[in-house]
């Protein structure tokens, strides 16, 4: 019964999505205010219905209704309740439903929080979001219905959730990631709406900016959660594998980063409009492309996803309509007349454009590397593109990007006096160079790429720090001055520092990671990077739905003091019979000690992998900074116009002014076309 209600709610929400995509768009076309006014209520009702459907599926999981095929395939009565809940998005159908729910949620959020937007604009934006959700809801209903039943007889117990996914990381990683992916649909909808209206002005950029930044922040956190999860759960100690599924999340992130910066230029200076619109389309298209790559099974991936050419064909059709359609609108409607707003080759505009170009090249490199094997196969030969290729390319692109960032931070809009750059840049180099030589020397090996990595991380940190000091100087002291800077400035600082921290972590852990595969039995002592690991004993225990072989490993530091005791495990999940490694990790700000169990090699002796991972935590620490910075920037007061308005701050005075000159305003900075 509950499943049927959920199914019914889903069908209704599909109908609403149909209405949402037709009524407001036609209203905007015909300039019919009544039709346009339908957009907000439709958007809000839609989210309620999708949510109801989602709650219904969750309930089916919680009450162990194994007559529902999807529940039977991804849950088990032995599973603890929180995994039953997260199992809702543990498979294909449920994660699509989560996707649709988040999309409906973003749509409703736009309807709710964009009251200052002109009605035709909001109608078009919500209409476009409605079209996207038609695609996803129909995809669920036609090919991947989570509410299908096994009738008349169904299994008494479920198959179980993939043990890899029985973990805290899985509870939070997909929702975060989808918040990011789907969040870019808002920027996309704004871009399409602006193209349809033919008014691509600076206001458009300002409206979509906060939405883009929030989505970006979520995606940043989502990706880093995924990386952290892979690190401790897959049991190899790797944190990024350049697998197609990971690349699928990295591409929108890179494009979204470019978009965020490009929107800033378009908002502040009214230039690069066509480019920014293209980036908005591109970013969301890459999110969709990611879904396709993951769901169609067209590429091999280490991550397990149900794949099916039938579904692949459907997603491909969706891609064709959404991406093809939006790029066609772009080609026909984007302005070609170059704006007459000038800037020099040392201007902030140019530095941000360079940043955009390198981010775009990075995006295309990931795209190319991911799709190249497919293209090669089409032409009859075989190529694998993996970590060595991507690492090399990023070792070339990232330093370039960061060097430009460091200089760009000091540039000014329109033109930067050469003196400013000449005064500041050499100092950056003078500080960064010794640090970049010292740090690798301390780690014991002067690898070229390690020097480069430390150099750019320091370079970026120094540039940001100096900028902070400069912007914080005030009569009342630096601290007061810093507190007085805008939240968007603080967010930017945090984001850039976060990148520096992540780069530092990635550089050091890639070059100075120590890894040993050893045979261990009770009493064995292994030394790794100064740490002594003693195997105390092996034992067995029984978990709620698994049996475990467990090792006890005592860790001592070089001084012989005991640091911690680790319990790496090898679990056999009783229902599915699959075996999982649980690593034993002693985390630290400056290093992790990582132990995982391999195989039984003799009676009471196991092959074990022992690793020392310096600065590995910095990877995720940096991304938390980045995500936090993004959220902080959105909390900036200038986005809270509504609040100020309610307070009635000198509105009347401004209204009088608009009365006189308001009509001319939109055209003063607009472009033809």
């Amino acid at each position: 019964m509950i499943a049927e209600l959920g199914h019914y709610a889903l069908i209704l929400s599909f109908c609403l999505a149909l209405l949402l995509s037709v009524v407001p768009l036609l209203g905007a076309w015909w300039q019919d205010e009544v039709w346009m006014r339908f957009s907000r209520p439709l958007a809000l009702t839609q989210v309620v219905l999708v949510f109801a459907s989602f709650v219904a599926l969750t309930t089916c999981f919680l009450i162990d209704d194994f007559s529902v095929q999807y529940v039977a395939g991804h849950s088990n009565s032995l599973l603890p309740w929180y995994y039953k809940m997260s199992a809702v998005w543990g498979g294909h159908e449920g994660s699509l439903l989560l996707w649709a729910l988040i999309l409906a949620g973003w749509t409703a959020a736009v309807a709710r929080f964009s009251r200052q937007l002109p009605l035709p604009m909001i109608s078009r934006v919500l209409g476009v979001l409605g079209i996207v959700n038609i695609g996803f809801l129909s995809f669920i209903l036609l090919t991947s219905n989570p509410f299908n039943r096994y009738l008349p007889n169904f299994p008494p117990d479920g198959v179980d959730l993939n043990p890899l996914l029985q973990d805290f990381g899985l509870i939070v990683h997909p929702p975060m990631l989808y918040m990011g992916y789907v969040g870019f649909s808002v920027a996309f909808a704004f871009a399409i709406a602006a193209l349809l209206s033919g008014r691509l002005d600076a206001t458009w950029a300002r409206w979509s900016r906060p939405w883009t930044t929030v989505a970006w922040a979520f995606l940043t956190l989502g990706i880093s959660l995924g990386s952290w999860w892979a690190y401790y759960e897959l049991g190899w100690g790797g944190w990024w594998f350049w697998d197609p599924v990971e690349n699928a999340s990295l591409m929108p992130w890179l494009a979204g980063t470019a978009l965020m910066h490009s929107l800033a230029v378009t908002e502040k200076r009214g230039v690069f409009k066509s480019w920014t619109v293209l980036l908005a389309i591109f970013t969301f298209s890459l999110s969709l492309l990611g879904t396709f790559l993951v769901r169609s099974g067209i590429l091999t991936s280490v991550h397990a996803f149900a794949s099916d050419p039938e579904r692949g064909r459907y997603v491909l059709m969706l891609l064709l309509i959404t991406i093809g359609g939006s790029l066609l609108i772009y080609a026909l409607r984007a302005p070609v007349v170059m704006s007459r707003i000038g800037f020099s080759e040392r201007s902030r505009e140019i530095f941000l454009l360079l940043n955009n170009i390198i981010l775009m090249v990075a995006t295309l490199t990931v795209l190319g590397g991911t799709l190249f094997p497919l293209g090669a196969e089409y032409f009859g030969y075989e190529v694998s593109v993996g970590a060595p290729y991507f690492n090399l390319m990023f070792a070339f692109l990232v330093p370039l990007l960061v060097l430009i960032m460091g200089v760009g931070i000091y540039s000014q809009w329109k033109d930067t006096k050469p003196g400013v750059l000449v005064r500041k840049i050499p100092l950056l180099a003078v500080v960064s160079l010794p640090v970049s030589l010292l740090v690798p020397w301390l780690y014991g090996e002067m690898a070229f790429l390690a020097v480069v990595g430390v150099f750019i991380a320091t370079w970026l940190t120094m540039a940001t720090a100096r900028d902070v000091i400069q912007k914080s100087s005030s009569k009342k002291g630096y601290i007061r001055g810093w507190l007085k800077t805008s939240r968007s400035f603080k967010g930017m600082v945090l984001g850039h520092l976060g990148l520096a921290v992540t780069i530092m972590g990635a550089t050091i852990v890639s070059h100075y990671n120590v890894e040993k595969d050893v045979r261990m039995e009770p009493g064995t002592i292994v030394t790794v990077a100064g740490y002594q690991l003693e195997l105390v004993k092996f034992d067995k225990y029984r978990g709620p739905n698994f049996l475990s072989e467990r090792a006890e490993v005592r860790v001592r530091n070089s001084a012989g003091r005991e640091v911690s005791t680790l319990f790496p495990e090898k679990r056999r999940y009783t229902v599915s019979g699959s075996v999982m490694t649980e690593a034993g990790i002693d985390p630290g700000l400056f290093r992790d000690v990582y132990v995982s169990m391999g195989e039984l090699v003799a009676d009471d002796a196991w092959a074990m992998r022992v690793q020392y991972k310096p600065l590995v935590r910095w990877l995720w620490l940096g991304s938390i900074f980045m995500g936090w910075g993004g959220l902080l920037a959105v909390a900036d007061s200038r986005y809270r116009v509504r609040l100020r308005q309610r307070l009635g701050n000198d509105t009347r005075k401004l209204e009088a002014e608009v009365g006189i000159t308001g009509k001319a305003a939109p055209f003063a900075r607009g472009e033809a076309g």
Binding site: A72, R115, V159, T203, E515
Partner: protein, 160 residues
Amino acid sequence: MNLNISRLLLAGMIVLACQSAHALEPYEFPDEQTRLRFQELTYELRCPKCQNQNIADSNAPIAKDLRQEVHRLLEEGKRDDEIVYYLVERYGDFIRYRPPFSLNTALLWLTPIVLVVVGVGVALWLGRRRKVTSNGADDLSPEEEERLARILRAQDRTFE
């Protein structure tokens, strides 16, 4: 019905067979450098049977065989490129995560570099070109900018 369930089970098991747990054998090496070479090689070689995994992390029997083979060839004193060639002869270019540079892969290797050069070139050209036209009267003075921004802000509110 039962068929469906068993198919589900089977699918789950096939997927897990490769990634459930990394396998490893405690190999002995004559010196530290050989051990590092072994690590590097096994990280850059792709397991032919598994879903996108290198042979160092894969648990598949074939990956185990290949690790053993790499170890044997290292002990025979073969160079890295000889070892890679030995395996490519048997399993094709598929096995190399680092694709060799050739006519077929030139596009893959060169595109990023070409794009960076072209992109940076275009950006600088744009900066120069725009500068020439920027001295016109169409630029707003700081006061005008300020006033315009205020008007735009206020105008947004009136749409409420």
